[in-house]
């Protein structure tokens, strides 16, 4: 069996409100699955259920073929890295890392040493958490989770409390760390860019279920649901069934093909990667779209031409 984690028909209800609806998925050994979705969509609840911190309503969770649904959090071979490092303030960096390893009876000096080296904090092993920076603390939290040698590591927006620069550095570092050691993990975030970077596959989570699970490139090129297209950006959703990639939208009518025409207003402009991005509101579709513009000031009205041969249909239903 190559699947480390298998979830079958997981549901969670809270006060008669469905938070998770019939979720079924699996993660292969060594695979990183990113789960991305808007804040408050229930991603964290899903992770907490997988970690054993919260009960589920129905469904089963198996790790390496073993049903762990009824097992308590301290008996599951799962680690969870939270948004905050949550290091034990009264223990040194080294003691923090060894805490879980000792309990799992997997503590060895060599392993601690190699983990400290991997996170680049060998010289800081006798420091207390309050004496190191936020990024360093998060790395210690990761090493602490790793030291128990869990079969699955869950990440709950682990970089969201860090500044953008540090965040970029750390996520690349974590990605390499996970890949090199082929650690099975689930990475939850609300940042689409982060989800694409971290995950071998990305699951878009909305209204208590996965709207689409695919490789990042597939997800970007062929979203199968209007929500996915909206959430990831890069497409203009024409109606519930059709969309067009933003780069296929034209400001002049194409001469060689038939097209749809929509009127829009530039609401505001931003600047990205040396380009001027116009944020347009298309009244006839009730949609907003962002795309590079050459001319036109804020408030200017312009027409957008959508070549019919570039318009695609959502092939929904696949999860």
């Amino acid at each position: 069996m190559t699947n480390t984690l298998e979830i079958q028909k997981l549901t969670k209800q809270f006060n008669e409100q469905s938070i998770l609806r019939d979720i079924t998925f699996s993660v292969e050994k060594g695979e990183v699955l990113s789960i991305v979705g808007p804040s408050g969509s229930g991603k964290t609840t899903l992770l907490r259920i997988l970690a054993g911190l919260e009960p589920l309503t129905t469904g089963t969770i198996s790790i390496s073929g073993q049903d762990v649904t009824e097992k308590k959090a301290n008996k599951r071979s799962v680690s969870l890295v939270f948004q905050q490092p949550l290091l034990f303030p009264h223990m040194t960096v080294e003691e923090n890392i060894r805490y879980g390893a000792k309990l799992a009876k997997k503590d060895s000096k060599r392993k601690t040493q190699s983990l400290l080296e991997a996170i680049g904090l060998l010289d800081y092993k006798d420091y207390y958490p309050a004496e190191i920076s936020g990024g360093q603390q998060q790395r210690v939290a990761l090493a602490r989770a790793m030291a128990t040698e869990p079969e699955v590591i869950l990440f709950d927006e682990p970089f969201s409390s860090l500044d953008p620069q540090l965040r970029k550095e750390l996520r690349l570092w974590v990605r390499t760390f996970l890949t090199e050691r082929s650690i099975t993990s689930i990475f939850v975030t609300h940042d689409t860019e982060e989800a694409m970077l971290m995950g071998d596959r990305v699951a878009v989570f909305h209204e208590g279920k996965f709207q689409q699970v695919d490789q990042p490139s597939t997800l970007l090129q062929s979203p199968n649901h209007p929500f996915v297209a909206h959430f990831l950006g890069g497409h203009l959703v024409i109606d519930e069934e059709r969309y067009i990639p933003v780069q296929s939208c034209l400001f002049r009518p194409p001469s060689d093909t038939s097209y749809e025409q929509h009127e829009g207003t530039i609401q505001h402009k931003t600047y990205q990667h040396g380009q001027t991005i116009g944020h347009l509101f298309l009244e006839s579709l009730g949609e907003k779209v962002s795309l590079p513009v050459q001319e036109g000031s804020v408030g200017a009205e312009l027409s957008l031409y959508l070549p019919l041969d570039k318009i695609k249909r959502f092939e929904g239903g696949r999860t």
């Binding site: 911190l53 939270f82 949550l86």
Partner: protein, 266 residues
């Protein structure tokens, strides 16, 4: 920073060290009166009067036993209830919280008189256990509040972390919760022992003359105008919380992951 430090030293010397020093001096000198023209006359009579009281040692023993019993029970109830109130959500939680505080809203004397009959009936009157139980009334509400705040400050996320790493609740209590709650444990130690030691009326009612504590030995001395004897008694009295505090500190040092005291923290 150095100005603050100076201010701290002056204030603590003036309001803490100086009164204690005066108390010690008074206990070993004859009663000193302002502008009486007398100098310092060393004497140990006051301590002799104190130790001549036949009940002194047994009362000290009773007081220590009651103080220790009240403290241990307070720690148990305070930690368990405080954790539940800080981490759990349930219907009627605010009502339970209010009920936990209610013993200090009603005069403890009224409670003791009411409980006295009950204690006689179940055989707890005139016993150590009965006195410990009645001393819980004015102490437990504070302990619960202190531990509830300590757990709230720790946060439920930090409390979940050991669980994720595979710790059992007992292991978590000793390796994470207790070490992080040392300040709360210290507060509860001092507070409960001092409150317990100061109870005169309720100890007399429930102890019924069998359980004689220090305040009861102390009471007849209040009639004397001899400040030296009073000072000697106060010092004797203050030694008990201090002793129990030192014992508690020693126990706290045994907790795992205790910071090495001599380590320089940056």
């Amino acid at each position: 920073m150095s100005r603050n430090r100076l201010l701290f030293i002056i204030t603590s010397a003036l309001f803490f060290l100086l009164p204690v020093l005066l108390l010690v001096l008074q206990s070993v000198s004859e009663t000193w009166r302002f502008q009486a023209g007398q100098g310092f006359t060393f004497q140990l009579d006051s301590f002799e009067v104190l130790t001549s009281d036949p009940n002194l040692w047994s009362a000290t023993g009773w007081s220590i036993a009651i103080g220790a019993g009240v403290l241990v029970t307070n720690l148990l109830i305070g930690i368990l209830t405080g954790k539940a109130l800080a981490t759990m959500d349930f219907k009627g939680k605010s009502f339970v919280e209010a009920m936990m505080l209610s013993p200090i809203l009603i005069p403890v004397l009224a409670i003791a008189m009411g409980l006295h009959l009950f204690m006689i009936r179940i055989g707890l009157a005139d016993t150590l256990a009965g006195v410990i139980l009645i001393h819980l009334v004015p102490t437990v509400p504070y302990s619960v509040k202190i531990f509830q705040n300590a757990y709230r400050q720790m946060g439920s996320d930090l409390l979940e972390q050991p669980l994720i790493l595979g710790a059992t609740p007992v292991h978590q209590l000793f390796t994470v919760e207790l070490p992080l709650m040392k300040p709360a444990i210290r507060s509860v130690t001092f507070l409960t022992i001092v409150i317990s030691l100061s109870q005169y009326a309720i100890t007399a009612i429930i102890g019924g003359g069998t359980v004689i504590t220090l305040p009861m030995v102390f009471f007849p001395f209040l009639d004397t105008a001899n400040a030296s004897i009073m000072a000697a008694f106060s010092i004797w009295f203050a030694m008990i919380p201090l002793l129990l505090y030192v014992i508690m500190e020693a126990i706290l040092l045994l907790l795992p992951y205790t910071n090495i005291p001599w380590r320089n923290r940056t």
